[in-house]
Symmetry: C2
Subunit: 434 residues, 2 copies
Amino acid sequence: RGSGGLVPRRAWAAPTVLRPIGVLAMSGFIQEARSIDDCLRLAAEGLSFPWNVRRRTVGVSDALLRRSSADIAAPEPYPPFTRSLRDGYAVCHAATTGASESSPAFLKFAGEVVMGAAPPFCIAPDEAALIPTGGMMPEGADAVVMTENAASSDGWVEVRASVQRGENLALESEEIKRSDVLIRRGDVIGCSAPGLLCALGISEVEVMDMRIGVISTGDEVVPADARSVPAGAIRDADTYIVQSILKKYGEASKSYGIAPDDWPALEARAHEAMAECDVVIISGGSSVGARDNTARLIESVGDPGLLIRGINMTPGKPTLIGGSVKDGKLMIGLPGHPLSCVVSTVFVVLPLLDAMCGGGGGAGKYVKLPLASDVQGRTGPDEFIPARLEDGGVRPLAAKSGYISAMMGADGFIRLRPDTETLRAGETAEVWLW
Amino acid sequence: RGSGGLVPRRAWAAPTVLRPIGVLAMSGFIQEARSIDDCLRLAAEGLSFPWNVRRRTVGVSDALLRRSSADIAAPEPYPPFTRSLRDGYAVCHAATTGASESSPAFLKFAGEVVMGAAPPFCIAPDEAALIPTGGMMPEGADAVVMTENAASSDGWVEVRASVQRGENLALESEEIKRSDVLIRRGDVIGCSAPGLLCALGISEVEVMDMRIGVISTGDEVVPADARSVPAGAIRDADTYIVQSILKKYGEASKSYGIAPDDWPALEARAHEAMAECDVVIISGGSSVGARDNTARLIESVGDPGLLIRGINMTPGKPTLIGGSVKDGKLMIGLPGHPLSCVVSTVFVVLPLLDAMCGGGGGAGKYVKLPLASDVQGRTGPDEFIPARLEDGGVRPLAAKSGYISAMMGADGFIRLRPDTETLRAGETAEVWLW
């Protein structure tokens, strides 16, 4: 490796020279780190995903932003009966043909539909019944004339506009048929779901209930609530970064504190987490020593151990993936730089959890937007640049991987795929939004 | 109103004819309902927003997705000290000028920076010190040579690449200066905030803690968990629609059940909610009777009472806004149709809460995207069409305002502003995303 006559120091510097992160020395040749997609596929295969993860039954309100553990099918149709969408008169549409302001149709008043009850009468072709919005259509009627276009007195209804069959009403099961699948296994239950589930009489949902543990590592890291911080030390941020992103996308997690950069301490902390958790996420200290300890730890959990050591992405390259199929433990090592940690959590951890659950993929949204300014890229890695929405387009934000503030004010990331290089202002970029 | 010789029935149909929702009869002339923006401005003025709302101190983790009640400023700079962003050697950049693989610079080895501690030595211009990523830069050094470009032995460091001043390091306070404002009053605390706050030693945050009550109304509405539903009745969905959207955008709320379409029942239910809450949201039954009761209720709360009766938007027109400045009560009536209820909650309730808090506006994101198919619009109202992201663009989804399933599979809404009519496939539409 071209170090001339110099002997490498017997310190952590040496392995770095021989084995830089992201490059694997295999059978005598150097292999570049693989793409995110390849790594996710290899991890899913190597760990025999999907797993049969823990699950729990919760009320519909508590299911919001959690993942469904099964397909949810409609137990009944919706609407449950044919309903009026307007205040007006239920009629046979044929009786209104040609009706207008100057030439109204006159129909016999047949009665009034009461909200929340089945009408006790039918409608003959020459009849009309008063019906409120949401009222159940009487037998025989197939359209509703809006109140604005009708008036009634003395047992007659004057209709001043024609309606078509089905106008101003929602047919029974028009929206949802019995057994229609509403939510797929693994889907994050979004804002729109609880109302729909409740309307169909589903008041409880079984959600995924994985146990996820988060460990921060690094000799320089002190707890976030430390009163004073020694010179050279920094407060723990990665734990909160990881936990916040997981929470936003449906997963509860537990912090197992900070482990220093020594092997017995990390091992002890990790085993404590593994005893309780299905997934253990170790946000690496930023030093090589911490990363090596994390790699050693993941290697030690058994078959298959460490599967992915470095991913061809920027930032986020020093990401590690492995685990134990037998014990059902997914182990992930994240880079310590805050921005790298965010990117790896979003683009590696969340898809891994999706794969582990056997569904989903609802984290964030991709859109294509015009760039407000140039963005520098290069062929090879997947690149992620924090970005802010602006005038309907997107502006890249300057950031180093060590930047913890880079995500403040950012709405998501511009993603430059491996084959994309620099893009100019006005060109369209792929954007991932929170 | 052109009803000829017919006498209006003495039922709920009559007031509808004389005073259709969305049109105000004022001093002898008919005034069209105003735009969303006008209504929000009028409501904010009429209710003397912002109010001094309740607040509560919570731990940083619990602050996620809640609104900050004050500007949050940085108590200390970040980084707290000048740090290396790489594993390598801390040097004076000038000493590396012209260094290359074929013509390396040789510097004296001055020592090793230990993680989490201030280095006990300085760097002279002809010296270099081993430093890990995240390590504190020693005095005198102003750049870092990456490990890949250097090697050391026998007290010397061989540098095979030149570096510029500041290369591979983050300067003290480079990202955040003391007193920089990180989060504004009213902002929803997003995923990226907890990590940053923790890094700066902020472990508690004061958040808005409004009490919001939600009431469903309608004779046809039965509780969502009802075992069986009588013919003509439907389960309550609006309560869950409103509560889910509020929860997603940072607000807890409490359900006060379902009130039937009679005045004393609604009044009693509303007063129960008003005794405990700052905001009362009444999702109207779909009938005119329920809407009239809600309007009467809001009118009755005193000064200014009912301010907005109908908004020029589709769906969502029968939205009511009012309240009492003296008692600090914001009262909102929402249309009962599920899709209308969603649209009014997102585009009226959330901005009203923002205005009440005196900040924010973080609910959802607007982008401009090409349409996958035509979308029908008309001049006049703000129109909202559920839409799904597709290949980086957007596809409008067919929906009636009574549709409860319209939001399933939707990523947001296409918004057609008052001056926008029909748009064709390929044209760019404004899209609001969850």
